[in-house]
């Protein structure tokens, strides 16, 4: 599943925020230094993530196209939901639990 933003793109967004919006507001030399170090560390994470091969989305592509054409056999939702839940466990794990408590 090729999700956007990719992990690399997320790291880049944080990097821009720290360097562009936070760093210029810091007067304390210690905090400035530590923020620069944090940016260096984030840069390592970003470049490491950038080396990962792109994920194969052929299966998702085929599934999306089938649903679009109206070919929705029983069990399709179960499959789709399992995939969404797996993504949510990364993006927002507490949401799955909260939603479940509510049912």
């Amino acid at each position: 599943m090729s999700e956007r933003p990719t992990p690399e793109e997320l790291a880049e967004a944080i990097e821009e925020f720290l360097a562009g919006e936070i760093l210029p507001t810091l007067d304390d030399p210690r905090l400035r230094f530590r923020t620069l170090v944090a940016l260096n560390a984030l840069g390592i994470v970003k470049r490491e993530l950038g080396r990962l091969p792109p994920e194969d989305d052929a299966e998702q592509r085929e599934l999306a196209a089938r649903i679009r054409s109206g070919d929705v056999p029983a069990g399709t939702l179960d499959r789709v939901k399992a995939d969404v839940e797996a993504r949510l466990r990364i993006a927002s794990p507490e949401y799955v639990e909260r939603h479940r408590d509510d049912e």
Binding site: M1, S2, E3, R4, P5, E9, L10, A13, I14, E16, F17, D57, Q60, R61, L63, A64, I67, R68, G70, V72, A74, G75, T76, L77, D78, V80, K81, D83, V84, E85, R87, L88, I90, A91, S92, Y95, V96, R98, H99, D102, E103
Partner: protein, 299 residues
């Protein structure tokens, strides 16, 4: 002529528009000014939004009193309106002690909005569910859950209703609320012509309950008194099944909306972590789409 004018203060928030608080002659005003980007290509221009606000105000809808449209305010268009007192942050509204009649008050405002004469606002366009497919295709990402939602919406269309003038984003986060209830309806940039039941249902979307999920109407109340009062005033006889249909459509629209917002970051139009992360948090909305489809017996 205006009397003494205070120094304008830029208010936080506002993804695509600036909001400036300013007092003129002691009167609290709000200046809404165009920002860098637009959220959505179907967003009204500020000139048209001001026209809608005027029509709503004339019809007695609770809205900030429109004061003036300004074609060029330091290079961008803007308009001036009354600055209403009250809470506008959805997350806080659902945690306030709001009066029990708030759902009924919301229904009353919506009934007035849906009675606005369309010929008074000839620039308003009609929207359809099919437009959502085009929006998803424009994003160009693979989201089978959204496809499944769109599929179900195509297969189960309710009988179409005569389109009316709709607010287009009628939910708790776009209201001003105080201890007496509804003070005003804000953010008219998505006004268009549509099935009234769709507008009536947008506020049911789980994301707009701000964590108070058991209260289906925007985290503040039950749907029944809201629907009953609306039907009583309009005679439209909207059925609960229509609310279910359009609640699902609202979730599909917001799932796509999250991706559209993330695009603004990814394309470089408007770089921001806040927008970027919406691309991932859209999965919450997709989960809700799956949940609602299960409720409809889909497997």
């Amino acid at each position: 002529m205006l009397g003494p004018v205070s120094e304008p203060v830029l208010l936080p928030g506002g993804a695509s528009k600036e909001a400036w608080a300013v007092d003129a002659d002691g009167e609290p005003l709000l200046v809404r000014r165009a920002g860098g980007g637009v959220i959505h290509r179907h967003t009204l221009s500020l000139r048209h939004e001001f026209e809608v606000l005027r029509a709503a105000h004339e019809a007695g809808v609770k809205v900030p009193r429109p004061v003036a449209y300004i074609e060029d305010l330091d290079g961008r268009e803007a308009f001036v309106m009354e600055r209403l007192e009250g809470e506008t942050i959805g997350r806080r509204i659902v945690r306030m002690a709001v009066p029990e009649r708030l759902p009924v008050q919301m229904a009353e405002e919506l009934a007035k909005i849906h009675a606005l004469p369309p010929e008074r606002l000839p620039f308003l366009e009609e929207a359809t569910v099919d437009r959502l497919v085009d929006e998803l295709d424009e994003i160009g990402e693979l989201h089978p859950a959204i496809e499944l939602g769109l599929w179900w919406l195509r297969e189960h269309r309710p009988l179409p209703r005569e389109p009316v003038v709709v607010h287009g984003d009628f939910r708790i986060g776009n209201l001003v609320v105080d201890e007496n209830g509804l003070v005003g309806v804000l953010d008219w940039e998505f006004a268009h012509l549509d099935d009234p039941a769709r507008d009536l249902s947008f506020g049911l979307v789980r994301a707009w309950r701000f964590g108070v999920d058991r209260l289906r109407l925007g985290g503040i109340g039950d749907v029944e008194p809201y629907l009953d009062r609306y039907n009583e005033l309009t005679g439209f006889e909207v059925r609960p099944e229509e609310l279910d249909y359009w609640e699902l459509a609202g979730n599909v629209a917001w799932a796509i909306g999250c991706l559209t917002q993330a695009r603004r970051h990814l394309t470089g139009q408007d770089r921001s972590v806040e927008l970027a992360i919406l691309g991932r948090l859209g999965a919450e909305v997709e989960f809700e789409i799956c949940h609602l489809l299960e409720g409809q017996g889909v497997t």
